[in-house]
């Protein structure tokens, strides 16, 4: 067992028998958020060494993606980060659109932005719920779920599913909003900000919460970049890196929002950043909704977007086709999708989600690479957990906001 850790073996002899205390945390543990397994070496309750072991939820999305066509691959992306699947859909679609050179209609861009920000709210609410529950505040959990439920109901109206949306398709989105959905979203954006105060009353200034989060798992900015941390975790350390601002996609270039940053890079700052992002996401949804009437009635899919069922082969039309029985229609095969490569990344609620796709001209990706934030964040746990207590480790797992479906793919 100990081989998982690179431990400096302590001297073990008969007189002075000193064996480190190993604790195997997970894969079944209430607060490892799924099937994360942490192998800990303890001294009392202090963590001396920590080795995360992942792969219990490995489904081979990258390999499967090579066997499915571009639109079908988006279905796989739902299952990666199942808390915010709309964001995953968008990342995949953006990479494929870049590869195919599609221009997404404006309305589709707005709709995508709205569902992405809804996903951000959903994700942050779930994060707050579980993070607070891990630290022991059980009521926040239910309040967050109360509000998340509302959003899931709206999702159900938008695309017919609550978690695995498959709402985005290559070249646009699958269907338009109805007026009912827009009204409901307006109502939500009205009522949501006051509800944030509910959570803040319970934990924001609570002395126990402050004690549990301030000064825990401090990551200086330089180290955070080196560790590859992204999203709210990086911004908590004071680096204002946000893909929405740095490489704008969809309609993010046109909306006005602030990227909140922290100062100390501890758990409390990351909590503050996420709470602020909730408000900003609410603002973005509001702005996008205001812009929707301008594009009323426009199509939501690009003109030259591929069909859902991308044909496996396309033949160059001959100048004079002779449709005669028994004669096979001959022609030179042309690539269905332009061969080449494309890289697109988005600011998913958890961090930077990057998709790198290589095409060989067929209807399927030749290589599909997904860089997921949770994967990188889990790799930072040993750094962050060193010399902390077990109780802090729980807070660290919570503050990193990991989903194992996202990291194992």
């Amino acid at each position: 067992m100990a081989t998982y850790l690179e431990i400096n073996k302590k001297q073990v002899n008969e007189e002075k028998w000193e064996e480190p205390f190993y604790l195997n945390m997970g894969p079944q543990h209430p607060s490892t958020h799924g099937v994360l397994r942490l192998f800990l070496e303890l001294e009392g309750e202090t963590i001396v060494n920590c080795a995360p072991i992942i792969g219990y939820l490995h489904r081979g999305v990258e390999k499967l993606g090579e066997t499915l066509n571009y639109n079908q691959t988006i279905v796989l992306s739902d299952r990666m980060d199942y808390i915010a699947s709309a964001a995953n859909n968008t990342a995949f679609a953006l990479a494929f659109e870049k590869l195919m050179g599609l221009e997404v209609p404006k309305r589709a861009k707005l709709l995508r932005t709205i569902v992405c920000e809804m996903a951000r709210i959903c994700n942050h609410l779930l994060w707050l719920a579980t993070h607070a529950l891990d630290i022991g505040a059980m009521t926040v959990f239910l309040y967050c779920f109360r509000d998340r439920e509302w959003l899931l109901n709206i999702y159900e109206k938008i695309c017919g599913a609550r978690l695995t949306h498959t709402y985005v398709r290559v070249g646009g989105v699958r269907q338009d909003f109805t007026q009912e959905i827009i009204d409901e979203l307006y109502k939500f954006t009205e009522e949501f900000p006051p509800r944030i105060y509910d959570y803040e009353t319970l934990i924001d200034v609570n002395r126990i919460w402050l004690k549990r989060t301030k000064g825990v798992a401090v990551v200086p900015a330089e180290d955070a970049i080196n560790l590859g941390l992204t999203g709210p975790v990086l911004r908590g350390s004071g680096v204002p890196y946000d893909v929405r601002k740095f490489r704008p996609y969809d309609a993010y270039g046109e909306v006005d929002f602030v990227v909140p940053t922290g100062k100390n890079g501890d758990t409390y700052d990351r909590y503050r950043v996420r709470m602020e992002e909730l408000r900003q996401a609410n603002r973005i949804i509001r702005q996008c909704l205001d812009k929707l009437p301008e594009t009323q009635g426009e199509p939501v899919v690009a003109e030259n977007a591929p069909d859902l069922l991308i044909p496996e082969k396309i033949k160059k039309p001959e100048p004079k086709p002779v449709p005669k029985k028994g004669v096979i229609f001959k022609g030179e095969e042309i690539p269905v999708v332009p061969p080449g490569e494309a890289f697109a990344s988005i600011e998913s609620p958890k961090g930077e989600l990057a998709v790198y796709v290589i095409s060989d001209g067929s209807s399927r990706p030749w290589r599909l690479r997904v860089r997921t934030p949770s994967f990188v964040h889990i790799s930072a746990i040993p750094y962050m957990a060193k010399n902390h207590l077990i109780a802090d480790l729980i807070a660290i797992i919570g503050t990193l906001d990991i989903v194992l479906g996202d990291s194992d793919r």
Binding site: G136, A137, T139, K211, R212, L389, A391
Partner: protein, 323 residues
């Protein structure tokens, strides 16, 4: 002699039944109250409004398979839950519910209750040790540290009460309160009450001090390996502990059975009202607050509560000397 014995038996059984019912419905009340605070419905399937839920739970736990994991220290593993329950539950016998109703009116009542509640921690520690599980072991360690530090603060708080009443007998303490100008010791001893309530919550391993079981850190702490009836007994012990601690607080600080006016035919009325309120506070706190960290809990105990208790004790002694 025989008559006395029969009377004694009847009283004891009545008390036990009442206490058990209270404990059973305390679990129900906790679930329901927390549910309403979280805007949920709470248990609502068994019986009208889920009123039979505790009984269903009990039956379920009784009929479940009693698992004994491989490699446990069997005698200790078997006996640990009973240690917890017996020592937590015996305290009920000493509480004067009414002027004329107390099962054992002994002269060192307060001391006896303190001793019992310290001993009940042995159940926790032993189960943590005997389970042969690392989570349970850590839970047991935490429990022992916690009990040692909070026992002192609690004793100090109660000592000031003893100083004011001039007796260790719980009956006498209540009577002293009634005859004092304040009627209840809550007013002069507010600091002691504050210390006592916090250490009582810690003593019962409740949120925000539920470190030995901390379900999100140590899964379930010391009883992680227990199942079925033994698990139920641990549960029972925890709630018994809550009832005893609240009853003690009512006796020592809130004036026992006295109330603003007499309620006919129900002699325990005021006692029970105060008890229920304190139990509600337990539940209320659980629904609201996050959990302390182990070292912070120790810090709170040693750096805040014990000094406060000592200061209060000296202050009380000083004032008593003057007046």
């Amino acid at each position: 002699m025989l008559e006395k014995l029969i009377y004694f038996l009847i009283a004891a059984i009545t008390l036990l039944v009442i206490a058990l019912l209270h404990v059973a419905y305390l679990t129900y009340a906790e679930r329901k109250v927390i549910a309403r605070m979280q805007q949920r419905l709470g248990p609502n399937r068994v019986g009208p409004r889920g009123l039979l839920q505790p009984i269903a739970d009990m039956l379920k736990l009784l009929t479940k398979e009693d698992l004994v994991p491989y490699g446990v220290d069997k005698p200790i593993f078997y006996i640990a839950p009973f240690i917890s329950l017996v020592f937590a539950g015996t305290g009920v016998a000493l509480i004067p519910l009414w002027e004329k109703f107390v099962i054992s009116n002994i002269n060192v009542g307060l001391l006896f209750i303190l001793a019992l509640s310290s001993l009940s921690a042995y159940g926790v520690i032993l189960s943590g040790w005997a389970s042969n599980s690392r989570y349970a072991f850590l839970g047991g360690l935490r429990a022992s540290a916690q009990v040692i530090s909070y026992e002192i603060a609690m004793s100090l708080a109660l000592l000031s009460v003893v100083l004011m009443a001039g007796s260790l007998n719980l009956m006498d303490i209540v009577k002293a309160q009634i005859s004092s100008p304040y009627k209840v010791y809550l007013i002069p001893q507010i600091i002691a009450f504050y210390v006592f309530i916090i250490s009582a919550i810690a003593e019962c391993n409740r949120i925000p001090f539920d470190l030995p079981e901390a379900e999100t850190e140590l899964v379930a702490g010391y009883f992680v390996e227990y199942s079925a009836i033994r698990f139920a007994i641990f549960y029972l012990a925890e709630y018994f502990g809550m009832v005893v601690m609240s009853a003690l607080a009512v006796t020592c600080f809130l004036g026992g059975w006295i109330g603003p006016f007499e309620v006919p035919y129900i002699p325990f009325f005021w006692f029970l009202i105060k008890l229920y309120f304190l139990l509600f506070v337990y539940i209320w706190v659980r629904a609201t607050l996050p959990r302390y960290r182990y070292d912070q809990l120790m810090g709170l105990g040693w750096k805040v509560l014990i000094p406060l208790g000592i200061i209060n004790l000296f202050l009380t002694a000083f004032l008593k000397l003057i007046f």
